[in-house]
Symmetry: C2
Subunit: 195 residues, 2 copies
């Protein structure tokens, strides 16, 4: 990928899907839920919980999407190798978020990713990921949101915020039953039955 | 605060301390650890685990700081009201991160916060926070990293990344025993005993 020429840009803005690897159903349920909700709120198009199933997370994500709007695809159980192979077969780019990767602030890695103007699969691990994740067989780019250990949830949030240039936080989520009215004080919510 | 004039800027860049409210020692241990490590990695100066103690989190944060460098203050058990009162007594600004707040992307709230050039205490809840958090008795600003529900960890990461204009991810953490050498492929670590 990195030696090939960036593709001709299409008129459709690139989409991002987040693949969560290494989820352990009980231990990781809250963190993985936060990763999935971050993906949704910061305008990824979908989420793949690879290799395992966790109906609790699916229910939470579905419930949030029904209430708060938008379309967000949720998939689980797909083997990660298959998900990556499928993505590459569709000419998508694969980005692995890791503290060991090229620094998103001090390198031009984000510009290089965006120059392809292709859909991006973002791999987000939990515990130690398989070594293959770092190789060109799996990832086109290894990206560090800084090079200090912190949180896959935070790394994903900053990556999405920068990838979408902040515009994802201004997006209106269509079909919402409830909308927050941003306020300096208190909680204001508008329901779809309000005038 | 919002009616007063921004203070004359000092030469010292403003510092941020993160206060985590509502931590439940067993249930929240991993999420709160991620929040604390995000605070550290994205260059907050310290972390207050309010109202409760959790030695497991303190140990993890201390261990990471010893290995990966920098100075990062960790405090726990302080009642949140006292921490906020102490902060205000030192003329600091208090920012509450909440999905109900002024949108960091669509409003000028971040510019207004930064115009004060004062140290900032960032309040990060877990479950439903006390209603007082939204009032001017506690918070100078209520800020939404978007207005969709997601994760306090992600909200904090994006807030810090924007507050520090991304420069926090380029910072060298002094006194580290181990440093990651950012790489396109694989894991490269330099220890302080390497030549």
């Amino acid at each position: 990928m990195e030696n090939s020429q960036p593709a001709k840009k299409s008129n459709n803005p690139p989409k991002i899907v987040v693949l969560r690897w290494g989820h352990r159903p009980q231990r990781d349920v809250r963190l993985t839920t936060h990763v999935a909700l971050t993906a949704r709120a910061l305008c990824a198009s979908g989420f793949i919980l690879s290799d395992v199933e966790d109906s609790h997370i699916r229910q939470t994500v579905k419930k949030i999407t029904v209430h708060w709007g938008g379309t967000f695809q949720f998939e689980m159980g797909t083997p990660w190798k298959q998900a990556v192979a499928d993505w590459r077969a569709k000419d998508g780019v694969v980005v692995h978020l890791t503290a060991y990767g090229e620094n998103i602030q001090t390198s031009n890695v984000l510009d290089r990713i965006k120059s392809y103007a292709k859909d991006v699969l973002v791999l987000v691990g939990s515990q130690k990921v398989p070594g293959e994740f770092y190789s060109s067989d799996v990832s086109d780019f290894n990206v560090g949101v800084g090079n200090q250990p912190h949180s896959e949830c935070s790394a994903l949030a900053v990556f999405l915020d920068r990838f979408f240039s902040g515009e994802e936080l201004a997006k209106d989520f269509g079909g919402a039953k409830m909308r927050i009215v941003p306020s300096a004080r208190g909680k204001k919510i508008k329901s779809d039955t309000d005038p």
